[in-house]
Amino acid sequence: MSDEYDLIIVGAGPAGLAAAVTASRNALKTLLVDEQADPGGQIYRSIERALPENRSALGPDYFYGQKLLEDFRGSGADYLPETTVWNVDRELNIGLLTNGQAKQIRGKHILLSAGAMERPVPIPGWTLPGVMGAAAADILFKSSDMLPAGPVVLAGSGPLLLLVACRLIDNDVPLAAMVETSSARDYLRAIPYLPGAFRAYNYLLKGLSMRYKVLKARIPVFQGCRDLVVTGDEEADGLRFTCHGADQHVRASTVLLHEGVVPNLQFSRLAGCDHEWFASQRYWRPVIDKWGRTSLEGISVAGDASGIRGAKTAEAAGHLAGLDAACRMKHISDAERDRLAAPYLKAVTRERSIRPFLDHLFPPACQALVPPDDQTIVCRCEELTAGQIREAVALGALDPGQVKGYTRCGMGPCQGRMCGLTLSEIIASSASLPIESVGQLRVRAPLKPLTINQLADLEIFE
């Protein structure tokens, strides 16, 4: 394998695919690496292998991705599927693991387009078998044609919750209830952002048609719910919650939780890019310019990994990052880049217009941010509770690194992916500090474990 690429792209979702297409078109020697067996990211997961009979269930938004996949297949970019990226550093080294062989290669430019991940929803009982993320359930359907065992209760907030509800209805999976943590008040709060959102009216129409489908299927919908608890001893058997002061319990075999998605920051944080706090959706995102350039020379971020803006924006951002990389490597002039970028910049502006509306309509529920109950598990790897984290704060640990030192929170194999946000939120609330000053858990390589053998056999290309 060639040891020096002009551009190495991490993640084969819409942003990564678009960047690979544009970069290759502008003569950059490009490598796209991705953890999955097929390109497409989560949104277009397994699109090239989707069964014809599932076409209507998967919907036209899914198949929109086909064109991008075709362009990518014809682009001439090198592609490494089923490859884990376990390191990225500011000297533009990148650590890869393919078929058990670890390699370290260096790019002239790196684009991180690792997409989003579901926000963890640490409520009592969330670690029981039978509980999973709604997005994770959706991915299982797309990739393996697997559906959750009914009856299902869907709980939380965010556009994806509605999408999954429709997917289950279409596939005749019994849906016991939709338990929404957003409320009518959130709708009122979102109204001022509606005029802007009309510029992306297709999203509004889609949202309304999904609402109508849930209504027509006579699914019980509870709004403004609080105090969610997954019930069951050995496995989940339902969801308890309060709705407008009344206690409710819905029986279910599967509990799907969702409080929106957050950027996947593992790579940008490991590399050491600057990040900023995005208050309305309560997550960090890398600081980037319109081309996706980060605070580190030669490292860019595009797509949901830079902030949640959806697939269409990600695709446009990928093209922009590809053009910018070509410009940085003097394959095209600044003027040429700017000319070619115009339609993508316009698309980004248009697609972004819906976000302030959605961000206000679906704020993550307070309970999901800071578990009120001390017994709730926060760090699944080390089985640490919210109470244990609060104890460390009481001992004077005022940043995630110090809490980690006291408790081992975030030291398991998941490297704090599942607990990092919750940890910062708990410290901020317990110590009454702004979360910006609390900061994030530091991320360490290898991002995914390497065995002693794999590390000893590491091939290093300087």
Binding site: N93, G412, P413, I452, N453, I460
Partner: protein
């Protein structure tokens, strides 16, 4: 802010040396202020491997190290905190006859100075102590009272006790200026001024910069050193392992994880700002691990990290009074083996501050030992 507060002693640096010194001074009723630039235990004191090792010490350090070893055995009781200390012993393994000769030479040297804590063992005794070691290893040098502890917890335990004894601790207060003002020192940190009669410099990898502010020079080099840790595995080993002629330090923690290190170089980024991993030495270390413990070949490494450390040319720390500035004492530059010494250093520093004297011969650790030609080096067994 222009507030100004007066103390007896200001300690600069909240690593384990500063925290231990603060604890011992505060216990003696001295009004102490500890200023830490970031958070206590943030750098070398939190990032090191936690080896509590007398084995293979530079000879000049042995008296201090043996004193520390005695304190370690009782330290958790004294501090009233779990420091994760386990007296498992430390073993330095010989892979061949050349290694055995090297270790025997070392044992003889240590004995010639009148110390008896290092002991040669043969293949049978090695297999008894470390049943999991590869068959071909033929013996070892051991120190049975050694062990390991959790560095962050130990540092924070000293810090907590210092606070209980009345020390004032200010984190996120980097010192920007030190001035002599009549008979005392004025220290500026985060725009605030603090006064004290006495200063103690425990600034670790930044120790030379603090020394320079009072007019002392130290040829400190900043290095980044890396460690890695594996997933949990069933208990298979007690003592901490080192190798006679390879870079490896290896221990299994109580929770089953294995911590692997041993002078693994990383990169210093910026102006002593970050340590960045370099995978070439980690690769080499993994190769050593699978050679000596073949059964671990498929064990996952879940995390690696690196920390910044101040290293002196002769690998000996700077400990003692400033030769130029009145009422200033230094304790820094521990050259990647200061963790075990801290309990004794804290005591020695408190003695120096309160009486001007110490029970230990600190002459090898003078800050001005590099002025006027290179000193006689204490290095007798490569680190």
């Amino acid at each position: 802010m222009n507030s100004s507060a007066g103390y007896d002693v200001i300690i600069i640096g909240g690593g384990i040396q500063g925290c231990a010194t603060a604890y011992h001074l505060a216990r003696r009723g001295i009004d102490v202020l500890l200023l830490e630039a970031e958070s206590c235990g943030r750098h070398a004191s939190g990032a090191n491997a936690g080896g509590v090792r007398c084995l293979n010490r530079l000879v000049e350090e042995i008296p201090l190290s043996l004193a520390a070893q005695r304190i370690w055995l009782e330290l958790e009781d004294e501090l009233g905190s779990d420091c994760g200390f386990r007296a498992t012993g430390q073993v330095r393994i010989a892979e061949n006859q050349a290694d055995m000769s090297k270790l025997e030479e070392r044992a003889t040297l240590v004995r010639s100075f009148g110390f008896h804590h290092e002991e040669m063992i043969d293949r049978a005794e090695l297999r008894k102590l470390v049943p999991a070691v590869a068959e071909y290893c033929i013996g070892a040098l051991v120190c049975r009272n050694d062990g390991y502890a959790k560095p962050f917890l130990t540092t924070r335990a000293y810090l907590a006790r210092a606070g209980q004894e009345g020390a004032t601790v200010l984190e996120r207060h980097p010192v920007s200026r030190i001035e002599r003002e009549r008979d005392s020192w004025r220290v500026t940190a985060s725009g605030r001024h603090f006064h004290a009669k006495t200063l103690v410099n425990c600034a670790g990898a930044w120790g030379d910069r603090i020394a320079e502010m009072v007019g002392d020079k130290a040829p400190l080099e900043v290095e980044a050193l890396a460690l890695m840790v594996t997933a949990r595995v069933a208990h298979f080993i007690d003592p901490v392992i080192g190798m006679a002629s390879r870079k490896l330090s290896f221990k299994q923690m109580q929770n089953g994880t294995v911590v692997i290190g041993g002078a693994l170089r990383a990169k210093v980024i910026g102006d002593r700002q970050h340590a960045q991993l370099d995978f070439a030495p980690l690769k080499e270390s993994a190769d050593t691990v699978r050679t000596v413990f073949p059964q671990l070949a498929n064990l996952p490494v879940v995390r690696a990290w690196a920390g910044l450390e101040g290293v002196m040319p002769d690998k000996l720390p700077v400990i003692g009074a400033s030769p130029t500035a009145p009422d200033v004492f230094h304790a820094f530059g521990f050259s990647a083996h200061g963790f075990q010494l801290a309990p004794a250093v804290g005591l020695a520093m408190a003695d120096l501050v309160t009486s001007g004297q110490s029970d230990f011969d600190l002459s090898a650790f003078r800050i001005d030992r590099f002025q006027g030609g290179r000193p006689q080096t204490g290095e007798i067994n490569g680190h």
